[in-house]
Assembly symmetry: C2
Homo-oligomer: 319 residues x 2
């Protein structure tokens, strides 16, 4: 099986949201008038972003999920993606499972694979994804204003607990480890939430490096500071099994849940609570935007706490 057969066999399907998909020098796309494209790219490397024994079907789902999550954080509606894949060898069992997971995820979000590249090399997966949204309505990182409330979706930390377990830092009982694994392997991109936050949120991003680290990006780009109220941050029930310091690290510095963090004027407080009920999604106010340029963690008495861990940095840490 050569390169062309491989693409045709595993990845070529009729292209939705595109005029021409896989098979020519490029795909062709039309964009509706009055809309913008939101474009994001991610690269995942074996041994760094996923374990060498990762289940290929779950992996296929996850690589698309983390890219969809970037679109969610912009408030965009996903349209299509490309896939570039370096494979150490042609392993048909692996490819069948990987493409099954990837394309199932694509179906769930009604997007199509419009192009890409395969080559031999150390297992590396690069995806670029595009979505569309009405011009000028994107949720940027630069829109937070003094006094805005800071919100997060979902309970945080289960994905990070799974990483701690797999790397031997903690030992979870089987059932609990499995639940946390599910969060790590199969994060749910918050697409519907992102779309509904257009016109409500002032700034947004997806938590991929940990709440505190990612909030720093909003502070930098919005030229503001932030305070986070430790006692209010919603964490996964399973984290009760962890010692307090590791629990805090998991939900404050773990980025593996791909939930959204966003800011909004206090005027929107009730609308956001209603939205959470409507989407059946936990939405919790965990702090507010303040003057300055740093992220502060406050205890129940609003006293500053030291921050002794850091967000995942792709170069500062080894996996």
């Amino acid at each position: 099986m050569n390169e062309f057969d491989l693409i045709a066999h595993y990845f070529k399907r009729p292209a939705k949201n595109a005029d021409l998909g896989v098979g020519d020098d490029a795909a062709l796309i039309s964009v509706a008038a009055g809309h913008q494209l939101a474009i994001s790219a991610d690269m995942l490397v074996e041994g760094r972003h996923f374990f060498p024994d990762a289940d290929p079907e779950r992996l296929g789902r996850k690589v698309l999920a983390v890219n969809l999550s970037d679109l969610a954080a912009m408030g965009a509606t996903p349209s299509w993606f490309t896939l570039s894949l370096a494979l150490p060898k042609i392993d048909e069992t692996w490819l069948a499972a990987f493409s099954r997971g990837l394309l199932a995820m694509a179906d769930e979000y009604d997007i199509s694979l419009i192009g890409g590249d395969t080559t031999r090399g150390p297992l590396t997966i690069a995806i670029q994804i595009a979505g569309s949204l009405p011009r000028g309505q994107a949720l940027l990182r630069s829109g937070a204003r003094l006094g805005d409330e800071i919100w997060v979706s979902g309970p945080l930390g289960a994905g990070a607990a799974a990483v701690m377990h797999r790397t031997g830092r903690i030992k979870l009982v089987d059932e609990l480890a499995k639940r946390c694994d599910l969060r790590l392997d199969l994060p749910t991109p918050r697409i519907a939430l992102g779309q509904r936050l257009r016109g409500i949120a002032s700034a947004a991003l997806d938590i991929s490096d940990g709440l505190l680290a990612d909030l720093r990006h909003i502070c930098e780009q919005s030229a503001c500071g932030a305070e986070v109220w430790l006692e209010t941050v919603p964490f996964a029930e399973d984290l009760h099994a962890l010692p307090e310091s590791l629990r805090q690290e998991a939900f404050l510095a773990g980025g593996d849940d791909y939930e959204l963090c966003f800011t909004a004027s206090p005027d929107q407080h009730k609308a956001i609570i209603s939205l959470g009920v409507e989407l059946n999604l936990g939405l919790t106010c965990v702090g507010k935007i303040i003057p300055g340029h740093t992220v502060q963690l406050l205890d129940a008495n609003k006293q500053p706490l030291p921050i002794t861990f850091h967000g995942f940095d792709h170069f500062a840490y080894e996996s």
Copy 2:
């Protein structure tokens, strides 16, 4: 230096052709009414697509050039690209040179880097590029018709000769090796030619796997056959130094020149000759579209010749 600093330092510049570039969850793009986007993705792996000792500045130019070449083959005007980069370590000398070459090439074609990703891993470079063109005017692989002439740009084979030299299959004298190296390292994407071929060519692609192998893609997608007249195929002067069999292999099966192959009605013959003069670019008629579904190589007496080599296949061959 962490991941964010790295992007900001080496790759972030004001975005042209984009409403928002590097630095948020996604870039934002507006597309003109009546236009389509052409989207292509390529992945290059060290040791497979480039040599481990490759000059990083040339490499930066080349990775963008091969992606631009795909847009040329569609007749599109390049607009922007994303870059995903896996690096074994942060080597600032390498990064400075690589980004210099990449961004210089981007400047020459007036496009901007709008997003991407960096991570630690075996040196791998994934680029996705987009261009625009008036709706419905793309040069597809599926448009060739019986009786159409087959054309190629530029003399072919110098890039392949450089590969043969570097891998020890042939020994070129220094000056000649340097000239062939230049073609291999710094191919010129035929953007202007592609744009001008809109409305003239019936089908087009860029020669990245070798003339005969790539022509097969046109035959498959256009449901036709092709004959190529060996004596007419323009090859680089430097190839005279090669034995005949290797010379033929270089210009018929070498894909490293990134020239265009296209088909057009004989009615367009004169217009194409004029276009070659205007663009100061060799454009040569090398065959024609015939019934059937195979690519035949004919000698000066129009007798079929055996084809004893194959185009570069990313999986069938080891580098």
